[in-house]
Amino acid sequence: MTAESAPTRSTAGVPEVGWAVLVLVVGAVGLAQAYRGWLPALVLGGTAAAGVLVVLAGRALRTSTLVTTLAALALLVLGTTLLLRAGDTAAGEQPWRLLADAVPRLVTGPRPAPAAPDLLAPSVLLTGLVSVLAGVRLGRPSRLRASAPVGAAVLLVAGAALTAGAADPYGLLAVVLVVVTVLGWGLLDRPQRSPGAVPHRNRELVVASVALALVAVPVVVGGAVLARDDAFDPRSVVEPPVTDVTVANPMPMLDAWARDPQRELFTVEGAVFPLHLAVLTEYDGAAWAAPSAFRPLGEAEALLPAGERQAEVDAQVTVVNLPAPWLPVSGSPETVDRASALVDVDSGSLIDPRVRSGTAYRALGLVDAPDEAAATAAGLPDPATVGGLLATRGLPDGLRQYALSAVEGTAAPFARAKAVEAAVRGNRTLDPTAPGGSSYRRMQTFLLGDEGTPGAQAGGSEQFATAFAVLARAAGLPTRVVVGFTPGTEDTRTGVRTVRGEDALAWPEVYFTGAGWVPFSPTPDLADLGPDVPDDTPIPSAAPTPVPEPSTAVTVDVTAPGAAASGPDLTPLVLGGGAVLLVVAAPLLVLGALRARRRSAHRRAGARGSWAELLDVADLAGLRAHPGQDARELATALDARAGDGRRAATVVAAAEAEAWSPEGSSPAAGDPWQTARSIARAVRRRTSAGRRATWGVHPRPLRAGGTRKVPLPQRLREPAAVPQDDHERWAPESRADRED
């Protein structure tokens, strides 16, 4: 076999494998941000490492690349299948069908997604594929290793797409990926040329540019597009599947809980906020109807937009004795760590058909929390857009007249709502033993009945809330009724609040443009749930007027994207920018310090140090053509680049005399160090702008330092033993001819 036809089996070294695994793990961590908890990061990070290692292990065992790749893919498919089978939805379904279902479930599901095995499966499959392909490419002879960074960028972008940019909001992972990639390229790239091969510098530049673009463009574009507030979200083009679920209206349970006030319903940890159990919007004059159109948590838009100022309420709830399938949550649920949870987007009611006594979950809810200024100045949405929230079909005239008289003289929506609240509360009494019901007839008795009539002027929170809703709708206010709970009784030792039957109640909420849903408290003797407006605060009749600051502080993290009063919050930008600067600047500072230390050592080492400095210059300028290039040849190349005489040759001569003459040193003409620095400056002036910019911190001289040895290619390594005597092999043909 001739040398040219001999196969060159290239292998990746430990540093290179470690670098590739690190790069992939960074990408996998980015993708894992689409899931809740640390376990997905562990699983995806492990998968990212395992794919590469399995392929390289197969190569180490001298198995063909095809077989190794197929084996790794088979392992990946097996693992994915097991994950899909472990999911809740696995019964009787084929794995491919489960996988096909898992992707839309992941896209339309809660964000971040619960760490359910079947929801993890698509990401494990993607990560595994990327890792295996990177492993296959890793051993190929190539100047630049682009497969691992490109794969990591794919994972990072996938994570950003699943979270609309929230996976890496400040771009830290992206910066880490770019830094690790560039450091790897700088420290690990080694020329692997066959003997006699001519270096293709232009080709390498093209490959480097393309590879860098493949990594940087998705990262930068992804960061720019996905991390914005109005980021593209694939969920916006997916209509989450709607499930019709018939569930019982929990309103009648209020009576039962009122009669058993000490019954423990559930416990909750987190911010002190009222909790919604069910939000009722449909009223037909006889009763409230529970919502029935549920879908997985996701990005589906509600009928009415949320308020401009919202509170994030993170709560850990443990169910004790609640009517299934309702799940208490504060405000509109944003994320729930139960894959089987469903939500009615318009009302924010949350259910889970699998809820049992003892079920624990963590839910993040967004509660509209307008300040009184915003609430009192707020307007009303277009009636055409509010659906059934104004429905008063069949409303008796008596109730309509009562509503109109209650709001007479008020023009501002909030003032009307407060007037209705006052009218409903009136002098009526809260009486849990009063007859129940929400019908118009019951409302007529409750509001207009004479003293002595059963149920007249007295009722439970159901009657107060319903009466408010009926009158407010008649007054043109979009209203709904919430069945829920006050925050409960806190155990000061554990911080856990226990919610009992006595904490259950119903209250109405009115929707105002910009303020969102504002709760009202028509029920006497109960805490005011609405915005805390002091009694002496004038409520505008038509135009908004300034109002004092709230007297109570908000105890939870409040997001206010549209808050004009406080201006944009720059803290994340400052923190993110600082972190990015730190991540970028720290490696540069370290590299700069190492290079300076190296230069200082060269300065102290006489003529030999001067030549070592020029070797660094040759490395930086790309003048080293092959390992066998000797000092004089390099000096010629340096002088040619510097373009000002044969000065490098004098440094070489001095260094050679110092290094290899028997006396160990020889007086050199001039100052070799000054000559070397002068050549370095001249060469730097004649290099590209990009290389000049990184001249002082480029890691290549650090990598080339030390022994500067390059391993021999396979076919130039020493044989294991001297060839044995072999007549055919050793006898020259001419001699054999002579013997004939």
């Binding site: 076999m1 001739t2 040398a3 040219e4 001999a6 003997p195 006699g196 050592a601 060269h602 080492a605 006489g606 003529a607 030999r608 140090g609 030549w611 070592a612 070797l615 092959h626 390992p627 066998g628 290039q629 000797d630 000092a631 004089r632 040849e633 070489v652 260094a655 050679e656 005399a657 110092e658 290094a659 290899w660 003459s661 028997p662 500067r708 040895k709 390059v710 021999l712 290619p713 076919r715 130039l716 390594r717 020493e718 044989p719 092999r729 050793w730 020259p732 001419s734 001699r735 002579r738």
Partner: protein
């Protein structure tokens, strides 16, 4: 030479003195051999390193002139033997002859007893004649009837091979090729020098005009002195790794031998001194690797048929084996 060296290594002043002597010899040879300074340098390298030269070239390029000019400049004797298939070993080495006048048997030296032996078309002689030359080249003695007769010192064999007309030739065995310190080719002179040779009245080829600028004893002294020239450990390792690389190349059936590498080190000493240095540098190795090592290596049949040469193999090894750099640490 000025004084007996007290240093274990050849000193700068010794080297400077040698350089002047060598320059004189080279200039003298160039009186008859025009435009071939690099070949003259290699021949003188062999003279001062105690080796022999194999010239591979077509007839009429000045091989004989070169050998005679070298001999003339050194002030020694030069003989020429035209090797033919019927040439006997005794025709080269000499033989014992009965003298009827006094009834004694005396040794009659052959042409090998000269300072410079030109073995013309050495590959035309039979194996045993070549073998006789082999012994003289290595041992520098001729053994006839059990008596060893030393050849004069210095002793330089300049053998020639005609690479064109190979009918009826016997390829030199590897063992004998290994005895030659350098192999090179004269080649045709460039146009300027060829015109100079053609011009009437030119001294080119006129060996009689070559001045004698030294003597064999001085050459022997310098040969011994240059054996003390310093070769640093990294250079020796570089030479060794280069040899190992040639042995491990897939294209090679026989790589550089240890004797070949030893010869290279010897040649490096003389070459460094000729450059005015009392130490060896890696570029010396790269300069001399091919003339000293290439003819000692053999390619595989496939590699030879594919058009590779031992020079290619050496070139690849020189590119791949890292050259030592004169850096600190």
């Amino acid at each position: 030479m000025t004084a007996a060296a007290t240093s274990p290594w050849a000193t700068e002043s010794e080297v400077a003195e040698f350089r002047a002597v060598r320059e004189r010899v080279a200039d003298a040879v160039e009186v008859a051999v025009h435009g071939k300074r690099h070949v003259v340098d290699l021949c003188l390298l062999a003279v001062f390193a105690g080796g022999h030269v194999l010239l591979e070239d077509v007839p009429g390029t000045g091989k004989t002139t070169l050998a005679r000019a070298v001999a003339a400049s050194l002030g020694g004797t030069a003989r020429r033997v035209q090797f033919t298939p019927d040439l006997l070993p005794s025709d080269v080495t000499g033989t014992t002859v009965f003298h009827p006048a006094d009834g004694s048997i005396r040794f009659r030296p052959g042409p090998v007893f000269a300072n410079v032996l030109l073995a013309d078309e050495v590959n035309r002689a039979a194996a045993k004649t070549q073998a006789a030359l082999l012994e003289v080249m290595e041992e520098r003695t001729v053994t006839v009837d059990g008596t060893a007769h030393p050849v004069p010192r210095p002793f330089l064999v300049v053998a020639t091979q005609n690479p064109v007309d190979l009918d009826g030739t016997y390829r030199l065995p590897e063992a004998q090729l290994d005895r030659f310190l350098v192999r090179t080719a004269l080649g045709y002179p460039d146009s300027e020098h060829e015109l100079d040779v053609l011009r009437p009245g030119s001294t080119a080829g006129d060996v009689d005009d070559v001045p004698t600028v030294t003597d064999p004893e001085e050459v022997e002294r310098w040969s011994a002195a240059l054996a003390r020239l310093h070769v640093a450990e990294p250079i020796l390792r570089y030479v060794r790794e280069l040899g190992a690389a040639t042995r491990a190349d897939d294209r090679v059936r026989l790589g550089a031998s240890t004797r070949g590498l030893r010869s290279l080190v010897r040649a490096l000493q003389v070459h460094a001194a000729a450059q005015g240095r009392h130490y060896v540098v890696p570029s010396d190795v790269q300069r001399l690797a091919e003339p000293v090592l290439a003819h000692r290596m053999m390619l595989t049949r496939d590699a030879a048929l594919a058009g590779h040469t031992t020079a290619d193999v050496l070139g690849a090894a020189l590119e791949q084996v890292p050259a030592p750099q004169p850096t600190a640490g």
